[in-house]
């Protein structure tokens, strides 16, 4: 078996692990009577009492992360370069970053409520990567062959990971608040985190991702200047990177603007995340531009 085939096998294995994690984490929203009994309803955040299913979810997620990491490393070894040459590799790296950001956070905090909202997009990303985006391992086209690729893409991927978890937290918050509004008496609502907790969580992650995204855009401009002779040319990819940047800046402003409730602020953040996804899928597939050589 070649390294590239090993890599693909590892990706499939991670998909299975992610599928299990998805189901395990979804139980948080089903019914957690033990939580109500054991956990303190007034301070759900400070006293995490995890059900066995959720514990399994975390273990399997760590396994999925290790498998994805190994898949990226073997892929990189197969092509003898950083595994960031085409959409398949970007998708895997993005999935890895999102999952890693979530799991690292889970070491210090208790993000059970948003776990499923992170694992589902990660699963979808990896699934799309192997089905639609798969590209044979190969070296880079000359325009991608630059040290700035590493700098620019690694920053973008790290920011993407943080934004993914932030989006997961926003969706969790919107869903929980929507259930609360409907005066649902589902037992799990009693222990669900409050809006302000999830709002702060989302903000922290976005505030972490935003400067890194800023840096990625700057590094991209420096690279574009080196490769094409202009630092900014309104290429669709560049344009959408700026649109995302502006959307997240709007999120940061909305959060400090009086009279903007967290749910509206979070929707702006989710719009920002949607622009990131469109930049990755929509622009690469639908719009021709200098970046389209990234290859599907």
């Amino acid at each position: 078996m070649t390294l590239a085939q090993t890599s693909l096998l590892l990706v499939y294995a991670s998909l299975i692990a992610l599928a299990i994690a998805m189901i395990a984490f979804a139980t948080v929203y089903a019914n957690t009577r033990t939580k109500v009994l054991v956990g303190s309803a007034t301070k759900p955040q400070s006293q995490p009492v995890r059900s066995r299913a959720v514990n399994i979810g975390y273990s399997v997620s760590w396994l999925a992360l290790a498998l994805l990491g190994a898949a990226l490393v073997t892929r990189g070894l197969a092509v003898m370069r950083a595994p960031w040459g085409n959409m398949y590799e970007f998708a895997l790296s993005g999935a890895f970053a999102g999952l890693a950001a979530f799991l690292v956070l889970s070491l210090k905090r208790n993000p059970d409520w948003l776990a499923v909202w992170v694992v589902v997009p990660v699963f979808a990303l990896v699934g799309l990567a192997v089905t639609v985006l798969y590209t044979e391992a190969g070296p880079l086209v000359p325009a991608l062959n630059s040290a700035w690729l590493i700098v620019h893409v690694s920053a973008a991927i790290v920011a993407f990971g943080a934004f993914t978890v932030a989006a997961g937290a926003s969706i969790a918050c919107l869903v929980i608040e929507w259930m609360r509004k409907r005066a649902s008496d589902a037992p799990w609502l009693a222990t669900a985190p409050t809006e302000s907790v999830l709002d702060r969580f989302t903000y922290r992650l976005t505030a972490f991702g935003f400067p890194i995204w800023t840096f990625a855009v700057i590094a991209g401009a420096i690279w574009a200047e080196n490769a094409w002779g202009r630092y900014w040319g309104w290429d669709p990819k560049e344009t959408w990177a700026l649109i995302s940047w502006v959307a997240y800046a709007a999120y940061l402003h909305a959060r400090v603007t009086a009279g903007w409730r967290p749910n509206r602020t979070m929707i702006i953040g989710l719009v920002g995340y949607a622009t990131l996804l469109f930049n990755f899928f929509g622009v690469n597939i639908l719009i021709p531009g200098l970046h389209s050589y990234a290859g599907i």
Binding site: T135, E136, A143, T214, A221, I222, E225, W228, W234, I287
Partner: protein
């Protein structure tokens, strides 16, 4: 990091009178809410710029779009959809945003400078209502407690104000001014970035030059195939460098699904900074531009230039040179023309060059690989009026054949000679390469880079430095003991504040 003081006032109804309403409009424009809406509008306005072809990126795609969608295209064109980033509405949004940023930076800068010069606010009357409120009693004297606390604050670079009153001593300490400094640096840098971009757009230029192996050019306007410059550009400022292409090599992937993908381009060239200077040998690669006094030369593309010799029936050489054939697809199926206006009767050749030619049953001759593995040239010869004497500018890559007579068609391999009684002999000598160079000067780019880095640094401080205050009230109680009250405040909900308070109190407790 105080909340925007204009925020509440911005919602007021507009007052009567010119000055009143101007002031009201100004407050509206510089409010956070407006900034937020303008930011969202800017994002929205940029979207069509990525969906429709833009003139700035190349007119041909726009013309193609207009041809394919004539009606919709005309409407879109009238709306500026093919020139979004230069359109009135896009410009309006970012200029409003720029004014808004200036309008918010200037007063905030003034307020921040004031706060840097003045003492932290005095101790509130009732500390116990604040977060992190703590009280402790100690046998140490009030003066010792105050000195110890002051020393701790000084050591950790807090800004301090001490106020003795009848009922005891109040201590106000504040830290984290760098948050607002960073925030201001960030917003001010955005202004500078816009200025830098404007400088580049006004004084900069860019152009494209195609160079065949064995030929060169000196950097003057006539050398350019395409050229565009800002309004304030002066052709006298073109640096007078010279460039000659010796050799160009391209490597392509030969195996697997990515077969045909480019792998490595290398051009070796002779350059000199001005006429009369010494020639220097340089290697030009993608991502590795050459530079002459701020003007950069980038390798952006390449193609083939078949070499042809045309002799008339009497044996005189009419033409002998390489000719640029523009690539049409990823396998470098290339088309080009040769115009020989000096022949007894004007002659034109139209050709298709295929670097790796195969004859496909259905599609006819096509190229299957970008490298010149089995080059072939297909030619059509024309005789008659080329139209070059009419004075109209002509496209050098197109032949106008309306007034010409077709003499024949042939296919040639390198070394082949095509003999035509009316024309003479056409010999396909072989094939050279040409490269396309992008030559660009963007004067504001260092400014933009510096401002971007400043913005990033400002952002880090603005987002991650928490602004916080600690107040201390030291009083003597009836039993001659010293009572210390402490409270803290951080608008950003800084979690580390309580441990800072604890650390400071630890020092105080140790005082005997």
């Amino acid at each position: 990091m105080s909340p925007d003081p204009k925020k509440s006032r911005a919602n007021e109804a507009p007052p009567i009178g010119f000055i009143g309403s101007t002031r009201w409009a100004w407050r509206q424009l510089t409010s956070m809410r407006t900034a937020l809406i303008l930011l969202l509008l800017l994002a929205l306005a940029a979207i069509p710029g990525s969906l429709f072809p833009q003139r700035s990126a190349g007119v041909s795609a726009v013309n193609q779009y207009l041809e394919d969608n004539p009606n919709l295209g005309r409407v879109l064109d009238a709306l500026g959809m093919f020139d979004v980033f230069g359109s009135i509405w896009f410009t309006a949004i970012y200029l409003l945003l720029l004014i808004s940023v200036i309008g918010c930076v200037v007063p905030r800068l003034r307020a921040h400078l004031d706060s840097l010069r003045s003492a932290p606010p005095p101790v509130p009357a009732d500390l116990s209502r604040l977060a992190d409120y703590q009280q402790l009693t100690t046998k140490a004297s009030a003066a010792d407690v105050v000195t110890t606390a002051e020393a701790w604050f000084r050591k950790h670079h807090w800004r301090l104000a001490t106020k003795a009153a009848k009922s005891g001593t109040g201590l106000s300490a504040e830290k984290g001014y760098a948050r607002e400094t960073g925030n201001l640096l960030f917003h001010a840098s955005l202004i500078v970035i816009v200025v830098g971009v404007a400088v580049g757009a006004l004084w900069g230029y860019r152009g494209q030059v195609l160079v065949r192996e064995g030929t060169g050019f000196s950097n003057t306007l006539v050398a350019y195939d395409e050229f565009s410059a800002g309004r304030l550009f002066d052709a006298k400022n073109l640096p007078p460098f010279g460039f000659e292409l010796e050799d160009f090599e391209a490597e392509f992937e030969r195996e697997g699904t990515q077969k045909g993908s480019p792998r490595q381009f290398t051009a070796s060239a002779l350059t000199r900074s001005e006429p009369g200077a010494n020639w220097q040998r340089e290697t030009l690669e993608v991502n590795h531009p050459l530079e002459f006094s701020g003007t950069k030369i980038f390798l952006t593309g390449h193609g083939y230039a078949p070499v042809l010799t045309v002799t008339d029936p009497a044996g005189h050489v009419q033409f002998s040179d390489s000719v640029i054939f523009l690539p049409r697809d990823g396998n470098f199926t290339s088309i080009g023309v040769v115009k020989i206006p000096d022949a007894p009767q004007q002659v034109g050749l139209e050709g298709i060059f295929l670097p790796s030619a195969v004859v496909d049953e259905e599609r006819g001759p096509i190229s299957v690989f970008p490298a010149p593995d089995s080059p072939a040239l297909f030619l059509v010869a024309w005789q008659g009026d080329l139209g070059v004497d009419s004075g109209e500018p002509q496209n050098v890559y197109q032949l106008r054949t309306e007034d010409m007579k077709r003499l024949g068609v042939t296919s040639l391999l390198p070394g082949d000679v095509w003999s035509l009684p009316q024309l003479g002999h056409v010999r396909f000598e072989g094939v050279d390469r040409f490269i396309s160079l992008q030559i660009a000067h963007e004067p504001g780019r260092q400014l933009v880079l510096v401002a971007s880095i400043a913005a990033l640094i400002g952002l880090l401080f603005g987002l991650f430095v928490p602004r916080r205050r600690i107040w201390l009230k030291v009083t003597n109680d009836t039993q001659k003991k010293t009572v210390v009250e402490v409270a803290g405040l951080s608008r950003q909900g800084y979690a580390g504040l309580s441990s800072e308070i604890a650390e400071m109190l630890g020092e105080v407790r140790r005082v005997k």
